[in-house]
């Protein structure tokens, strides 16, 4: 039973490896994907997911996605959706997104990365059995640079499923890897303890507790390992060794209060009360809302009593009672404050959006007494998940409210555009139709010319390229011939006509190639003008279309969005109320638990104080009797309170 509790506690407390980086592996080709990353790197996952969803929808909607700039990052984008959804605590959708990649036709390394991410997701949602099934599906090539990360998560999954031997082997292999030494040793120690191999477990835990490094994570795992070792040894009665481990824990880390308390108890177990006062006196001065500090309030006078300093002990019990009384009042005030809804108000204050440590800092603010005692609760997974949900719901609520006002503005814009464009468009359309018919006619003429010229390349037609002068001249000559036909023309005249016809024909025939080239040049020049005309035409069509599109076709969409927004807002408000209530219940329960504990301390302190006063009085009277017996008749000093003064001679620890 203990082993299982210990294991789960260890699992919950050990930090995992950092999430896979969303940094693009290649140069960014798509600025909109870059924008998605910009939000994701700031943990603004709503914005990241929302934009990436829109980007992916557009990518999959275009005719040729390969030409889309997102294509350069499509694998990363498909993965990132799942990652960002996970960051936004949408486990169900993240799982579906990752499963879609696994089922797709992708290389083994990509598929394995997707399986790994799915397994990690299932592990994070405490679905350990399915996480195990998933991680064991990894076969073949692993994604480059992620081998250790995958192995570490696999080890954690084995541990959670009770496969301690498999987990131990994985962690043993990881201990040599850079950046994993402390975590791997710690988890190997947990695996060994769970298998009942205490000696080897202690060796591994000792290694984790002495791992070198000054990074925050390394220091934390070192402290954690030493605290676990100290606790186990203390439980086994090996107080001397327990003290050695507990003293290794840093004085300013998150585990320091518990370590100081344990170090004091280790000394007490060895009956070294004087030494126990050293860590406990340090604790005594710390934030009194901490459970370890509260225990030390009783521990310190207990140690003094054991040293025979009953008077000092009684006084310190009195001081502890005073503090406990103050804390009980504070707890009552906190419970009242939570019941009045102030806890939820404090959680969603503006500062929270700027500072993710805000909830922790709340404890420091005098105006938020309801949060003083919630540190432990806030560190629990369930409370954190619920708190994050509540904060997410508040963020959604603010967005929905803002969108609700946006729709009215959009409707105004659309109405203004409608009023501006609708009177203008009929006359513009009429003019455009006239121009359009002229343009179409000219385009047809150009097409005819183009066809003719192309045919002439195959079958030369010099007559088609005769100049207008030549045509007129030929017509005049033909007219002359017709007139002379009825009359008797002299041979000279006929000869001259034939000669003129010959000259014209000669010119037409000999200039044909040059004229054909010139005609093609003119056609090319015409094409340029036509291209410009077409551009103007297209631009007009686009502008005309844009004018219409700027106010048509939105009404239904905006109306539907408005309804969806209202419905979503109603749901968000309901969920916030329910989630808020659960948070309040959990907070009040936690405070009540702490209150109960303090009340127990209060009873113990009262009894112990009375007992120590009695002992002090007894000691004083014994001392007095001894003095009287020895013939010394010095009267005992009685303080104004009527209580006997503790024995001064023995007071200094």
């Amino acid at each position: 039973m203990y082993g299982k509790t210990f294991c789960l506690a260890a699992l919950l407390l050990v930090s995992g490896t950092p999430p896979a980086s969303a940094t693009p592996s290649t140069e960014l080709k798509d600025p909109f994907f870059g924008e998605v990353l910009y939000y994701a790197h700031q943990h603004r996952y709503f914005d990241a997911v929302s934009r990436l969803d829109a980007e992916l929808a557009q990518y999959h909607g275009v005719d040729e996605p390969l030409l889309d700039s997102l294509n350069f990052h499509i694998n990363q984008a498909e993965f990132s959706v799942g990652d960002f959804e996970l960051g936004y605590r949408m486990h169900q959708r993240a799982g579906r997104a990752i499963s879609a990649v696994i089922e797709g036709n992708v290389p083994a390394a990509v598929r394995n990365e997707a399986i790994y991410r799915l397994a990690r997701l299932l592990f994070q949602t405490q679905d350990y059995v399915n996480a195990l099934h998933a991680i064991e599906r990894i076969r073949g090539e692993l994604p480059a640079g992620m081998e250790n990360e995958i192995a570490f998560v696999k080890g954690q999954i084995y541990l959670a499923n009770g496969r301690f031997g498999d987990a131990e082997r994985i962690f043993a292999a990881l201990e040599g890897q850079n950046g994993y030494r402390g975590f791997a040793a710690y988890n190997r120690g947990v695996s060994l303890f769970a298998q009942g191999q205490d000696a080897r477990g202690a060796e591994a835990m000792d290694s984790a507790g002495s791992v070198p490094g000054s990074e925050r994570e390394t220091e934390a795992i070192r402290d954690k390992a030493n605290l676990v070792m100290g606790s186990r040894l203390l439980e086994k009665g090996e107080a001397q060794l327990a003290g050695k481990y507990l003293e290794r824990v840093r004085l300013e880390g998150p585990f320091s209060n518990r370590a100081l308390l344990g170090a004091g108890w280790a000394d007490v177990k060895r009956e070294d009360y004087r030494h126990a006062l050293v860590p406990w006196s340090l604790l005594f001065k710390r934030n009194v809302t901490d459970p370890s500090v509260q225990e030390a309030l009783l521990g310190v006078p207990h140690a003094y009593a054991q040293l025979g300093l009953y008077g000092k002990s009684a006084l310190l019990y009195g001081s502890a009672l005073e503090k406990i009384g103050g804390e009980l009042d504070k707890l009552d005030a906190s419970i009242d404050s939570i019941k009045q809804g102030r806890f939820l108000q404090a959680l969603v204050r503006e500062e929270g959006r700027k500072d993710k440590e805000w909830v922790i800092r709340l404890r420091e603010l005098p105006q938020t007494p309801e949060t003083f005692y919630l540190m432990e609760l806030m560190a629990s997974n369930d409370f954190q998940a619920m708190l994050q949900n509540y904060l997410d719901l508040e963020e959604l609520r603010l967005r929905l409210v803002s969108w609700g006002t946006d729709y009215a503005a959009y409707n105004d814009i659309i109405e203004l555009r409608r009023r501006y464009y609708e009177p203008l468009l009929p006359s513009i359309d009429a003019q455009f139709r006239k121009l359009d018919s002229v343009i179409r006619l000219r385009m047809e003429q150009r097409e005819r010319l183009d066809n003719k010229l192309k045919k002439m390349l195959v079958a030369p037609q010099p007559e088609f390229l005769a100049t207008s002068r030549e045509r007129v001249a030929k017509e005049r000559i033909a007219g002359m011939e017709a007139r002379l036909k009825g009359n008797r023309a002299d041979a000279d005249t006929l000869h001259r006509i034939e000669r003129l016809k010959g000259v014209i024909q000669w010119d037409i025939a000999t200039n044909y190639q040059a004229r054909l080239t010139e005609a093609f040049d003119h056609l090319a020049a015409l094409d340029k003008d036509i291209a410009a005309l077409q551009e103007t035409y297209a631009s007009f069509v686009r502008t005309r279309q844009a004018a219409t599109q700027s106010y048509q076709g939105y009404d239904e969409q905006i109306r539907r969005l408005g309804i969806n927004t209202d419905n979503a807002l109603a749901t968000v408000n309901t969920l916030m109320a329910r989630q808020g209530h659960l948070l309040e219940v959990m907070a009040v329960n936690e405070l009540a638990r702490r209150r109960q504990k303090l009340e127990e301390y209060q009873v113990q302190a009262r009894f112990a104080m009375a007992e120590n006063y009695d002992r002090a009085s007894k000691a004083r009277s014994q001392e007095e009797t001894s003095r009287l017996d020895a013939g010394q008749k010095t009267p005992a000093k009685v303080p104004a309170t009527g209580q006997p003064e503790p024995a001064k001679a023995k007071e200094a620890p």
Binding site: Y39, Q92, W265, V268, N589
Partner: protein, 174 residues
């Protein structure tokens, strides 16, 4: 109080699970969590549709221009602020928070401005203030002429710290 009890009390405290009087069950927590995930999905869907609608309504592609800020050299340059003028008119200024700077250094791109311009040539002027690796404040300025075509105009403004390359501000048509 007997020492043994104190000892046990301390050990129990290390692994204590908070006990609740009016219990909040795991089913309740799971149930509401699933509903929260559902509403997130719905709101994301509204958000994506709204984004496309806004773009179509306010920044149609034939007039849309978007300006993106990115960092070169990543870690050495501490960008403090950026000021942008488009065709002689100030269109964007931004002072960077630490989180935003980190996001840029990690490879993100900030869409600093989206607006509407006519097709044709436009003049972009950018000024930035930042600190280099030596901690000295550095003012940089650059300008760029870009041609806006029929499609949306996308320009990346890439900023680098002092000494990282010849020009502190580079522009790329996207």
């Amino acid at each position: 109080m007997p020492r043994a009890i104190y000892g046990l009390l301390w050990i129990a405290l290390q692994f204590a699970v908070p006990a609740q009087a009016e219990e909040v069950s795991r089913e309740q927590i799971k149930g509401i969590d699933e509903q929260v995930q559902e509403i997130k999905k719905d709101v994301l869907s509204i958000s994506s549709e709204l984004k496309l609608l806004e773009e179509k309504l306010l920044y149609p592609s034939n007039t849309q221009v978007s300006l993106f800020v990115s960092l070169a050299g990543k870690e050495k340059f501490r960008l403090d602020s950026v000021e942008i003028m488009l065709d002689g008119k100030a269109v964007a200024t931004h002072v960077y928070s630490f989180k935003e700077l980190e996001a840029l250094q990690a490879g993100g791109m900030q869409r600093i401005y989206t607006g509407n311009v006519q097709t044709g040539e436009h003049l972009l002027k950018v000024g930035s203030i930042g600190k280099g690796a030596d901690g000295k404040e550095q003012h940089q300025a650059g300008e760029y002429r870009f041609k806006k075509g029929i499609g949306p105009g996308l320009v990346e403004i890439n900023l680098a710290g002092p000494g990282e390359r010849s020009s502190g501000i580079e522009f790329k048509d996207r």
